[in-house]
């Protein structure tokens, strides 16, 4: 059944649907444990650790106490379960509060107070001013005589302006007594989550009016979570209740986003897992062979002649358990922890606090900060993102006369003012359209002033401008509208509103002049949506020119037109319109069609030009981020010319001759294809010249391209660093994001309005600007910021630090796990490949959970370069984009280091503690101490800056290690009893550890020093420069140098591309290479990846390369 029938005020049918009990809870007390465990075990890592833990229960094969795995596993599970439970409990509390709220509902003809959760579909609910709407209602009565009420929908869509809701036509004029007894049926679709549509009908039963079917739209509804404002009371019929409301349906868990770093870590984990399997198989084989050849001769081991059937498996399984620590169990927890701290740092950042709107930055998604540092493409909206979205009316052109061209402000243009005073008919008509053709709601404030509540900033600007020109919109009550023109009141009756949609790109109203009874169609819209509708024979040339001229100046233009309607024509059309409005399927499409039937033969009367100022710091931000190698695409619904103008203003593109714009246009498929191919060719040819190339495409061509020529366009997209896409729809924006993502680029989408939501959700990272168009974008986004300029800091500071920190933390986690595991493996060669663990259970557990986890967490405070340096040298971001700090080759370095350190620890321990000293507990403690010392120094040498926390964590941890082990050594029943005391008294223990540390760290230090001084990376140079800056180079020097060279970067890139073979070893470090490794083919990273033939790879090569 696709529809539901709601019988108003009919108790017999109300149990068909659920009651109004809201439940946001994921769990109940009974199913919490199984459900939560099930969720947690869907992760591969958890399954793996559970398997290991279960195997450990088998005492024949376990090398250590099962507690060493069960302990951490249970802790990890308990932590996430507790967090879930706490969240769920809070949800339960807020649900309960909402459910038990008292509401007025009509029962048996009388108004009663009941709990919100007991509302059923069909009930009539009464609301007072400032009440929250408890469920989705169809409005049937309000206190306002015009049959309207006002709601605030902020909780639903984030828009803070008041919205008008109107009574369905058949309910107008009903008294409260009648409303108590009203009966009828509402035919509406099944619950969905679309908060913009409610395509249904209502039919009231006699004695109420006729049998007429009354169409309902979203304007006739009060949706759950909205607030009733400025209206004494309102009442409505419950149509959707509980979790079936629009709000309830749109609630959903967003897909978790996976960062490139996460993907890389997963890959590396997979690789280590494979390595582990190989080790297990090899050692398992070796163990079984050794057992059969040697161990049987060792009478003291008493190997039975015939073992059980599983005997062959025992030794491999023991090694599996022994090697299971290769995959660090603490990694996930540590990563989650540091990631939430990164997110907090963003929330806390004072420099990103917007004092103007009092908004602090917020990281809604705590898991993807690293991705910020790896962004390659930024797709940005224009209006409200780059600009203030604070519109002011600047110029206009009325029937060929330009106003405001001299002063730049039409409102001060004497000619216009004179024309208004002299009642020039065209000017009056022009002002009338400005005033009437909109959805602005005038609200009288306490002081008697009229305030306009507008959803669109353009309309707001137009209405305000008209008011300044003495045409004041006074009130708009239901269908009647009042205008004060030069002290004279004019009444209009609004017959129909043909709403704005992004497809139609225009809106119209049909009004009836109360004085002369004439019916007028007033339209306003984009030039290409209005000008073609002009009547045959009208000269539209002046308007085209005006639009062009204004667009050149970066102004937003709207064309205004009108037509008088004949009574008959209107009547016919009105019928069709009513029908279209009450259809349930395809309503939007049908409405479009019907509207088109009316909107033709317009007399175009003029063009308005509205200015939208650039936000502070936009050009600088874009310049910096482009220097950082980030490509910008501007996706806007605005006109091509306006878009280009804004793009020039904010350094998006350079003007000739430094830059060149390539246009892709055309109306037919052939034209578009030809244009596209031409642009592609130009792009290829000129890519070697030092020129900023950008292509410009409009929505129409883009539609064809995305359908037909995707591959050609993809090729172009890869080549092009800058693009301007104008006149694009929200879904096209999302498609462009998808396209770039499919090329393995990290994309960041930034926008402020509802039309950016899809793009924001689709992109790897969505950033919302908490702007004037409401909070919709900011809510859908992973990060919300107050102003565009904060993006620079978000990426260069937070993104970069996060990436660097996670890169170190994850690799270090593997390093320390591998270190201890390699030692176990080496030891197995000295213990008859039988799978004995050198370390005892407590040490193993504490090693992973304590000794090695705590010091490295201070990485969240590590800064390789100061924020200032990074901002001055944004090019340094290349290192993060290319993934140069975490990729298979850096990982191989850490792998090698752990192997080397394991060898050092093991060989030195075995030799120093040979013969009479080779007691098991002592030797194992010496080896463990060696590991702890080494890891402390590894953390030290890899950290770039030391705060008090670093010292506390690193050296405090070392002290804790001794403190803890001395304590355990004092317990008589412990295996470790007296061991640590004995060791600490032996000079040879300290001498051995000293040796281990120096042999382990010496080469690391020497190599690091050598690379640092003679093969310095750009990071190293900047670190050194920070130090010696004062001495030799002033910052300005550096800056000017950068500036002069910057323009060549593009050309540099392409030129170096041809030399790529010279820099062979670094190609693997290009972003492409990283990408390939992340790609679907598993574990193929050992082969050197091929460089993609784009300038990014080339850029990276030169930037990251330092030759003699």
């Amino acid at each position: 059944m696709m529809k539901r029938f709601v019988y108003i005020n009919d108790d017999s049918s109300q149990n068909l649907y659920c009651d109004n009990r809201i439940s946001n809870r994921k769990y109940t007390i009974l199913n919490f444990l199984p459900k939560n465990l099930w969720e947690q075990f869907r992760r591969f890592m958890n399954q793996y650790f559970l398997l290991i833990a279960c195997l450990q229960l088998w005492s024949l094969i376990t090398p250590v106490n099962p507690a060493s795995t069960w302990g951490p596993l249970i802790i990890i599970f308990a932590v996430s379960a507790t967090k879930e439970a706490w969240d769920d409990y809070n949800r339960y509390l807020s649900d309960k509060q909402a459910n038990e709220k008292e509401v007025w509902v009509v029962k048996d003809g009388i108004r009663k107070h009941i709990k919100a959760q007991d509302i059923h579909v069909g009930n009539i609910v009464w609301l007072r001013e400032n009440d929250e709407v408890p469920c989705d209602l169809v409005l049937i009565g309000t206190s306002e005589p015009q049959g309207i009420c006002y709601v605030e929908t902020a909780a639903l869509d984030g828009e803070t302006d008041l919205k008008t809701r109107v009574l369905p036509s058949s309910c107008i004029g009903l008294t409260p007594e009648q409303l108590h007894k009203i009966k009828g049926v509402i035919e509406c679709p099944n619950p969905d989550k679309d908060i913009r549509r409610f395509d249904s009908n209502m039919r009231l039963f006699p004695p109420f009016i006729d049998n007429d079917l009354c169409p309902l739209t979203i304007d006739n509804t009060l949706l759950q979570s909205c607030y009733l404002r400025n209206t004494e009371w309102a009442c409505g019929v419950a149509v959707y209740t509980g979790n079936e409301t629009k709000l309830g349906m749109s609630r959903g868990v967003p897909e978790p986003k996976l960062t490139a770093v996460d993907a890389m870590i997963d890959k590396l984990t997979g690789a280590i897992f494979l390595f582990q399997i190989v080790v297990v198989i090899v050692l398992g084989f070796a163990g079984n062979i050794w057992k059969d050849t040697e161990a049987r001769k060792q009478w003291y081991a008493q190997y039975p002649e015939d073992g059980p059937w599983y005997e062959l498996l025992v030794i491999p399984l023991r090694f599996e358990l022994l090697c299971s620590i290769m995959i660090p169990i603490s990694l996930k927890v540590s990563l989650d922890l540091v990631k939430s701290i990164y997110a907090k740092f963003i929330d806390w950042d004072e420099e990103m606090y917007d004092h103007e709107t009092m908004t602090a930055p917020h990281a809604a998604n705590t898991a993807i900060s690293e991705d910020l540092g790896q962004v390659e493409y930024i797709l940005t909206d224009k209006t409200g993102t780059l600009t203030e979205n604070k519109m002011s009316f600047r110029r206009c052109c009325i029937n060929g006369t330009f106003y405001g061209n001299e002063s730049g402000d039409a409102l001060k243009d004497v000619e216009l003012l004179n024309a208004v005073i002299n009642n020039v008919p065209d000017v009056i008509r022009f002002l009338t359209i400005m005033t009437i053709c909109n959805t602005v709601v005038p609200v009288r404030s306490m002081s008697g002033n009229i305030l306009y509540k507008a959803q669109s900033q353009d309309e707001d600007a137009l209405v305000n401008a008209a008011a300044r020109l003495h045409m004041v919109l006074i009130s708009k009550n239901g269908n009647s509208l009042e205008i004060n023109f030069n002290g004279k009141l004019i009444h209009y009756e609004i017959l129909d509103t043909l709403e704005f949609t992004s497809e139609r790109k225009r809106m119209s109203v049909v009004v009836k002049d109360s004085e002369d009874g004439k019916i007028l169609l007033l339209s306003k819209g984009a030039d290409e949506a209005i000008l073609p509708l002009s009547y045959a024979g009208q000269q539209i040339r002046p308007f085209v020119d005006a639009v062009d001229q204004y667009a050149q100046l970066g102004l937003r233009t709207l064309c205004l037109g009108w037509r008088e309607l004949k009574d008959d024509e209107y009547k016919d059309w009105s019928q069709a319109f009513k029908e279209a409005r009450s259809t349930l399927v395809n309503r939007e499409w049908k409405l479009d069609e019907v509207c088109q039937r009316l909107e033709h033969d317009l007399e175009v009367i003029g063009v308005t030009a509205v200015e939208d100022q650039l936000q502070d710091g936009v050009p600088e931000t874009i310049e910096t981020l482009r220097k950082a190698g980030i490509n910008f695409w501007m996706l806007t619904g605005d006109k091509q010319k306006t878009a280009i103008q804004i793009a020039l203003l904010c350094n998006f593109i350079s003007s000739e001759p430094r830059g060149q714009l390539l246009f892709i246009n055309g109306k037919t498929e052939d034209e578009v294809l030809r244009s596209l191919e031409r642009v592609l060719l130009t792009m290829k040819i000129t890519s070697s010249e030092p020129k900023d190339l950008a292509f410009v495409v409009d929505g129409w061509a883009l539609e064809i391209i995305l359908k037909q020529y995707r591959s050609v366009f993809t090729e172009l997209a890869i080549l092009s660093r800058t693009a301007i896409c104008c006149r694009v729809t929200p879904s096209q924006k999302a498609q462009l994001v998808e396209l770039l993502k499919s090329c393995d680029y990290r994309t960041l989408a930034i926008g402020d309005g509802g039309n950016d939501v899809r793009m924001i959700q689709n992109a790897d990272i969505g950033v919302g600007i908490s702007g004037r168009e409401g909070l919709q974008a900011a809510r859908a986004a992973d990060y919300s910021i107050g102003k565009f300029r904060f993006l620079k800091r978000l990426i260069l500071v937070h993104g970069r630090y996060s990436y660097n920190r996670t890169a170190f933390l994850s690799q270090y986690s593997f390093y320390k796990s591998l270190l201890i595991c390699f030692i176990q493996i080496f030891f197995s060669f000295f213990s008859g490949v039988s799978g004995t663990s050198l370390f005892n259970s407590i040490s193993l557990m504490a090693y992973n959970v304590f000794y090695t986890s705590v010091p490295v967490l201070t990485v969240v405070l590590d800064k390789d370069l100061t924020e200032k340096t990074v901002m001055q040298n944004p090019q340094i971001l290349f290192y993060c984009q290319a993934g140069r700090l975490l990729n298979p080759s850096t990982f191989a370095g850490w792998f090698g280091r752990s192997l080397y350190h394991a060898l050092v620890v093991f060989l030195i321990t075995v030799h120093a503690y040979a013969d009479e000293k080779s007691e098991m507990e002592q030797l194992s403690m010496v080896a463990l101490s060696g590991c702890i010392w080494l890891q402390a120094f590894v953390v030290t040498i890899e950290m770039n800056s030391f705060t008090i926390f670093h010292h506390l964590a690193i050296w405090g941890n070392l002290l804790c290690f001794y403190g803890l082990n001395l304590m355990i050594s004092a317990i008589p029943s412990a295996g470790l009893y007296t061991i640590m005391f004995r060791l600490c008294r032996q000079p040879s223990y300290w001498i051995t550890l000293f040796l281990i540390t120096v042999v382990g760290m010496g080469p690391v230090l020497a190599l690091k020093y050598f690379r640092y001084t003679y093969r310095s990376s750009a990071i190293n140079i900047l670190q050194q420069a920070e130090r010696s800056r004062v001495a030799t180079f002033s910052i300005r020097d550096l800056d000017s140098q950068l500036k002069s060279i910057e323009k060549d970067v593009g050309s540099l890139a392409s030129r170096n591309k041809f030399k790529s073979s010279v820099y062979e070893p670094l190609i693997t470090d290009s972003p492409t290479a990283t990408r390939r490794a992340v790609g679907p083919s598993a574990f193929d990273f050992l082969q050197p990846a091929q460089s993609r033939d784009d300038q990014n790879a080339g850029l990276l090569e030169i930037v990251c390369m330092l030759t003699e």
Binding site: P63, R111, W126, L127, R128, N130, S143, E177, W299, Y300, A301, Q302, Y303, W348, D349, E350, E351, T357, T359, A360, F827, F830, S831, G832, S834, G835, T836, K863, N873, H911, A914, E916, S918, E919, M920, S945, T947, F949, P972, S973, Y977, S988, I991, F994, G1002, L1005, A1006, Y1009, T1013, Y1014, I1021, Q1023, Q1024, R1027, L1042, I1045, D1048, R1055, I1102, C1104
Partner: protein, 347 residues
């Protein structure tokens, strides 16, 4: 007609306005601006570190080496010598037979003065005390207290006698207790061997109970190693305690006893060995070791040599870095090294 009645309207407008606009409290921590020191790997720091290490390591190495060099050690491998000529082809049969005379004697010369106490060790090679099957085959609870006599978990296959009564001490380790014995003499004068206090005092006090007496030990069909005197509690059975401190490596020495007098240089010492322990089935080696001791332990040149090597390597590295620094001086932090600051045609 108004459903609001007399209740006061809620005043939520202002209060709920932008809860998030509450400006956070800023501190140096939240701004990631904690005072920090940023050590750089400048040539001065690195080179002086290496020199310092070199300067520290060489004397320590010399000291260790001389300490180890001063230790006098006599090692005598007897596992082959102690098999009579006629049994050399089948050593296993010889050692397993209960009829053969397993006593053998030999003499050796004391190369240098050995100061008391002279430690007597037995050394086993290719003996895997750390084998997974072996190392776990014990029960510490049972060893510790009489109350846990029945605890034989992990001890299989030497946990209980066929009739089910527990073996004390149970497990493979105890069962395979080393049972060669040595006695020493100079020109018919017996040298006393002190077998007291060869085990760790902590083990005697806390790990092996004074009320635990051996029971059912070595009574089974298969005899492993030494038998224990059932009238002596485990805490006094020092050979057992020493043996049960398992070795981590397949070659190990264990303390057998001490000679509490100096041995003069060139003194001839004759040793009588009861060669009972079977290492022949797995080609293990047995040695008798007499050794003095020093602050660093027994004779072990490894640490000394390693320190000297590493010390000199560090000095060498430091010199190499100095030379490199002089030959190829590099201004640290020169922005002209930044690739994006360089002319593309420059290379």
């Amino acid at each position: 007609m108004n459903p609001t009645g007399d209740s006061t309207p809620e005043t939520d407008g202002a209060t709920e306005r932008r809860k998030k606009s509450k400006k956070p409290n800023y501190s140096r921590f939240t701004q990631q601006e904690l005072p920090a020191c940023k050590p750089l790997l400048t040539p001065t720091i690195v080179i002086s570190t290496f020199i310092l290490i070199g300067v520290l390591f060489i004397p320590i190495g010399l000291a260790s080496l001389s300490a180890s060099g001063n230790v006098v050690e006599i090692v005598y491998r007897y596992d082959i010598d102690c098999i009579p000529q006629q049994s050399q082809d089948d050593k296993l049969a010889f050692i397993q037979s209960s009829l053969t005379n397993k006593t053998c004697t030999t003499t050796f010369n004391v190369p240098k003065n050995m100061k008391a106490p002279v430690h007597i060790y037995y050394e086993l090679d290719n003996f895997y005390q750390n084998h997974r099957r072996y190392v776990k085959s014990r029960n510490d609870k049972q060893l510790r207290s009489k109350a846990y006599e029945l605890e034989t978990t992990n001890c299989a296959p030497e946990a209980t006698t066929p009739d089910g009564s527990p073996i004390v001490p149970c497990g493979l380790i105890a069962w395979s207790l080393f049972n060669d014995t040595y006695s020493f003499a100079t020109q018919s004068k017996v040298i006393e061997v002190n077998k007291k206090n060869i085990a760790w005092q902590s083990d005697k006090d806390h790990k092996f109970g004074s009320d635990v007496y051996p029971k059912n030990f070595q009574q089974g069909g298969l005899i492993g190693g030494a038998k224990l005197n059932e009238s002596i509690p485990l805490s006094e059975q020092e050979d057992l305690i020493v043996w049960m401190r398992t070795a981590a490596l397949p070659q190990f020495r264990k303390l057998y006893g001490r000679i509490e007098r100096d041995l003069a240089a060139n003194e001839q010492i004759s040793v009588t060995i009861e060669n009972n322990y079977n290492t022949y089935s797995f080609e293990g080696e047995k040695r008798l070791v007499l050794s003095t001791t020093s602050w660093i332990g027994g004779k072990n040149g490894f640490l000394g040599v390693a320190y000297l090597t590493i010390g000199s390597l560090c000095i060498f590295l430091a010199v190499a870095f100095i030379v490199l620094y002089l030959l190829k001086p590099r201004t640290l932090g020169d922005p002209s090294y930044l690739s994006w600051n360089r002319n593309p045609d420059g290379h």
